[in-house]
Subunit: 293 residues, 2 copies
Amino acid sequence: MEDGFSLKQSRVCIVGLGLMGGSLAKALRGHVADLTGIDDDPATCRDATAQGLTRQADGKLSSAIEADVVVLATPVRTIIRLIGELGDYLRPGTLLIDLGSVKGPVVRAMNGLPVSVQAIGGHPMCGKAVSGLAHADGALYRGAPFVLCRSDRTTPDAVALARQMVAAIGAQAIEVEAAHHDRVVAVTSGLPYALAAALTLVAGVQAEDDAMIWTLAASGFRDTSRLAGSDPTMMADILQTNAPAVLDALEEAQAHLTTLVSILRSNKSEDLHATLSRAQAYRHAWEKERGNR
Amino acid sequence: MEDGFSLKQSRVCIVGLGLMGGSLAKALRGHVADLTGIDDDPATCRDATAQGLTRQADGKLSSAIEADVVVLATPVRTIIRLIGELGDYLRPGTLLIDLGSVKGPVVRAMNGLPVSVQAIGGHPMCGKAVSGLAHADGALYRGAPFVLCRSDRTTPDAVALARQMVAAIGAQAIEVEAAHHDRVVAVTSGLPYALAAALTLVAGVQAEDDAMIWTLAASGFRDTSRLAGSDPTMMADILQTNAPAVLDALEEAQAHLTTLVSILRSNKSEDLHATLSRAQAYRHAWEKERGNR
């Protein structure tokens, strides 16, 4: 990446043409010099090119050699593997960025790249309940926070180009240290998912013997359990690659539940009201911070 | 209540003119012979009458003596207390019904009423994040399941009249035994609320030292934590009056979380995928059953 290199002049290669990669291709159209794709699935490659999302797409990692910017839009464990494999194919100055939901292991892998490569971790905080190129949406990133985590391979030029890309797709760049990011998302994403899964398992097991469970499960159940509908492969990937922070968050949640059980069992009305009021105050604090419900 | 007594000919008195009682008054307009209200708050009584929701409203329980149908729309513990106090004021044949979220203790209190009184437990499965007469909505009950639980004071005529009322407000009557109802709602309402509160407490405590928590908390956190914003007084009432069933549900949820922790800690990928897939399958089963997401 030369000084003053701009997104507009960049040839971008997206590895992984699913919901996130496909949406990025749509969002980047007109903002870059060239768009190519790499995906294991030949049908996906054909569709991406037929729809004009990529000029060309194939299954060969070596195709990344022509790119100025390579975006890894695969599951986290695949991202980590690809960073190791891509080292040989990236020309000096190429910017490598990923879209994975966990950043510590990704940034550590980036630290092992040849010093000539520029690499920065990325995590756009958006998604959909569905997956695959067929659901790609050029507006997916609009207004979303897009976390950037520097690695040992991140120069100021790399940050500047990554920020150009984030701005081009309408997202908002937020720079955070990778370990910090992972602790936070364990609480804001991993824990909600785990609690939704636990709720759904309790209800589902009982529903096998009692049809009334699904009949009376209404909007409260719907919202609290929504994340349990997420793709298990993707979620296992996210939980396992961020296991230490997720385990910390789970243990804290269990401690709060144990306190609640103890308060309920001993029928301590004042303690119960104080605990529930505190939860409500925190929820209102978040609503105020985010300006939405 | 005489044979063939109809809702259209009934004088209805609603005790508690908050969101639920006020919405019921709006929904019942034109379907009943007379509508009066009882509420502790004089301003609420004035508003209800000024808005034409009730012909008159005051704070005296004795005003219920003129009614053919008395609806208790207060928190659960108040409902239980009022059933005991109302025994003296209800004329023979009067139908007493409540809108409380817990049914076992309510139906047990109804069983202690004079034999001349008709009484049936009710639980409309709907609500709003806000409370009070100002948010009353005549469409609140439309399409919602409305649970009916018979007591020892429930004759076939009482069931028929209660069903007329449920139909008049556009809800769908579902008859369930009270203890069964309470076990089910502990899983479908109490548990989701408790998990949302635990999530919000974990995030809120960390957010006090780390502003990034609220910045990165997105739609997954929003939905999973939504119920934590509920009124703590109302929720404490619901959890405490249904404590045995809520405690059972909480213990099952904790068992699932403990399993998840153990799987994550030992990095058992196959077990993790199987558990998360099971949760996803249950969530999809509910979506299929309810036809919504």
